[in-house]
């Protein structure tokens, strides 16, 4: 991996190569282990956990490359491409750090390069931060569809949580059903 400083990590070719290398190395390692087993099916069963890791790496590579491909197309709108670029880098680098074991065990990355990835990810978070709310607004979900007091578009969360709580059927009367049968006798004792 050619990364020597944090900014090197936001090169799409570098990222794609890292994911391809991780996937190829995990797959080849599994194939070698299975080939060494007494028979193929026994090997497949024995190394099924490793095979799952290799498959996941292959699929995550597909997602990363599809995101990168989408960025190669024309994307109109002020600042839209830049935000998508940040999101793509965050997606890929968060996988690099989350699956650090895969990258380290296959010898593709050093621990220093992993630290650089984490540093770059923090920078990307800071770049994304001012746009986070607008980016979720872009999903175009209505309040009805979200069905969430916490996620209301107007942000008036606490007033609505409070008022809705008071409207809950449990609060229909000041003294609860069951008081006479089950609470009063206890209190009397």
């Amino acid at each position: 991996c050619p990364v020597t400083k944090e900014r090197d990590w936001i090169n799409l070719d570098t990222l794609q190569h890292a994911f391809e290398a991780r996937s190829a190395r995990l797959s080849v390692k599994c194939a070698t282990q299975i080939a060494a087993a007494s028979n193929q099916e026994a090997g497949f069963s024995e190394f099924s956990s490793e095979l799952v890791d290799a498959s996941r790496a292959h699929c995550e590579l597909i997602v990363v490359t599809r995101f990168m491909e989408a960025l190669k197309k024309e994307i109109p709108g002020r600042g839209v491409r830049e935000q998508l670029q940040i999101l793509c880098n965050i997606y890929a680098l968060s996988l690099v750090t989350a699956r650090a074991g895969d990258f380290l065990v296959t010898g593709y990355l050093s621990s220093e390069q992993l630290d650089l990835a984490k540093g770059q990810l923090r920078s990307l978070f800071r770049e994304l931060r001012p746009n986070a709310v607008a980016l979720v607004d872009s999903f175009n979900h209505s309040d009805y569809y979200l069905g969430s007091t916490l996620g209301r578009f107007d942000g008036n969360v606490y007033e609505n949580l409070y008022n809705d709580a008071l409207k809950d059927p449990m609060n229909a009367s000041p003294v609860t059903e069951g008081y006479e049968e089950y609470i009063r006798p206890v209190l009397k004792r």
Partner: protein
């Protein structure tokens, strides 16, 4: 100015243009707003009381909504795209999901032209309601292990569908328990004493007159499922057959047919033809993953901007939790993932079109690769989304546990995706078989293609170590 209004002022891009990227076109944005408004303003589609309803009330309420939606679709002459949008905005798992999403595509994919002409008009008008009965009580991902039999009887020109064991009971199909009149039943085709493996049959299970189960059919709901709401709005069913007779041409015959005298005749169309329908279903699953994850992320991002905790300087408000790196490092990758899955879904739509056009030309060359990659993508997107919704709940602190957050119900409705179409880990093992086979063929000079093309470069990817 409240927190979110302040946040929106700081945006550095055109939100309306980003909506077009997310939806795919300005027309789609407009469609979403129009149909979304239609659903939100109709009191029948109210859903804020859903979590306090009991199972039967919940289920009946969903039937009411589905019937009301159907009446709107017909009276307003909605297009297929508008009807699909309407059903998705109602936001409740229902028998209609299976009827339109599985029953009809299965007939289209596996029926002959004549069979499609017979069954599709009935299904489109909902004169019949169908579901997709594959999974059995003792057989999930392993379709080859299914035990239900369909034995041809040449004396009456009928198949006799039978449930030979308890574990052969059909179990889980959505819409089967109480609503569906018909089912696509997967059963072992037996003719002339020989077992030809699992095939798809259309079996009528309820009377079209009084909706009672037909003789020999035992059909029922499988019971209460996880969470408030979720799949409890739907009748996932069990089904048993006691020598139920169906006409010979109820076998979906695009891949193979049985003649009047009981001869099994493959049509020459590879069995992998069914993979085309699977790609369609998986494409929809990936799109759903991006939608569900985006809903959870919207809730968590907005509330993280509203919520303030700690970090006070004298006289100043507490810090917005979205400003904490610990919050960002959990939340922003999920926000990015929602966008990543949307682009993946768009690509899978293209992939489905590509596979379909190839199949029509008799080109089956890309099917193994497409089948493997789409099953793996279904696996990782659904697992990540289910985990992501739960992470978003935790990112909202204690309030995320309230049903008012919308997150518990969202999770309950989504998490079954991890086990339908096959358990996610098993699906990854299918991908692994494909990867191992691809590597084993490298030595013979066969170049991998599509999403596995990079493996052709494996030597280089390894050598740079």
């Amino acid at each position: 100015m409240n927190s979110l209004a302040q946040e929106r002022k700081s945006a550095q891009f055109d939100v309306e243009a980003m909506k077009v990227v997310w939806e795919g076109s300005p027309e789609q944005v407009q469609l979403t707003q129009r149909i979304g408004q239609l659903v939100a303003s109709d009191p029948v589609f109210r859903k804020d009381n859903r979590v306090s309803q009991g199972r039967l009330e919940l289920f009946k309420n969903t039937l009411w909504k589905a019937a009301h939606a159907w009446s709107i679709i017909q009276s307003m002459h909605l297009t297929e795209a508008e009807a699909l949008k309407l059903r998705s905005f109602i936001d409740e798992p229902a028998y209609t999901d299976l009827h339109w999403g599985m029953f009809i595509p299965a007939i289209k994919g596996q029926g002959t032209d004549e069979q499609q002409q017979k069954w599709l008009p009935l299904a489109f008008k909902q004169t019949i309601i169908g579901c997709y009965a594959q999974t059995e009580l003792g057989h999930g991902s392993n379709v080859q292990g299914l035990e239900t039999t369909a034995t041809f009887d040449p004396s009456t020109d009928e198949f006799i569908v039978n449930t030979p064991t308890l574990t052969a009971t059909k179990w889980w199909p959505g819409g089967l328990g109480k609503v569906s009149t018909h089912a696509i039943v997967y059963a072992r085709l037996i003719t002339d004493g020989k077992d030809y493996g699992v095939h798809a049959f259309i079996v009528q299970i309820r009377s079209l007159e009084d909706h009672h189960p037909l003789p020999g059919v035992i059909v029922a709901d499988i019971g209460v499922k996880f969470g408030n709401g979720g799949y409890n709005t739907m009748d996932n069913g069990l089904l048993r057959f006691d020598s139920v007779r169906i006409p010979r041409d109820n076998l979906l015959m695009r891949v193979a047919s049985v003649t009047r005298d009981g001869k099994y005749v493959p049509s020459g169309v590879p069995r992998q033809l069914g993979y085309g329908a699977m790609v369609f279903v998986r494409k929809s699953i990936v799109m759903d993953a991006s939608t569900y994850l985006s809903r959870a992320v919207t809730i968590a991002v907005r509330y993280s901007a509203v919520r303030r905790q700690f970090g006070t300087e004298q006289g100043k408000p507490e810090t917005q939790v979205i400003d904490y790196m610990t919050q960002q490092s959990r939340l922003f990758p999920l926000l990015a993932t929602a966008y990543a899955y949307r682009f993946l879904g768009v690509w899978m739509s293209w992939l489905y079109s590509d596979v379909t056009s190839r199949l029509e030309r008799g080109d089956f060359s890309t099917l193994p690769e497409v089948h493997a990659c789409t099953s793996g993508l279904k696996s990782i997107t659904t697992s990540t989304t289910a985990d992501g919704i739960e992470e978003c709940r935790k990112l909202c602190g204690g309030h995320g546990y309230l049903c008012a957050s919308g997150l518990p119900e969202l999770y309950a409705a989504y998490v079954p995706a991890c086990t339908y179409e096959g358990d996610n880990v098993i699906l990854l093992l299918q991908v692994a078989r494909f990867l191992m086979k691809t590597l084993s063929l490298l030595g013979s000079g066969k170049k991998p293609s599509g999403t596995a093309a990079y493996l052709g470069n494996a030597a280089d990817l390894l050598a740079k170590n």
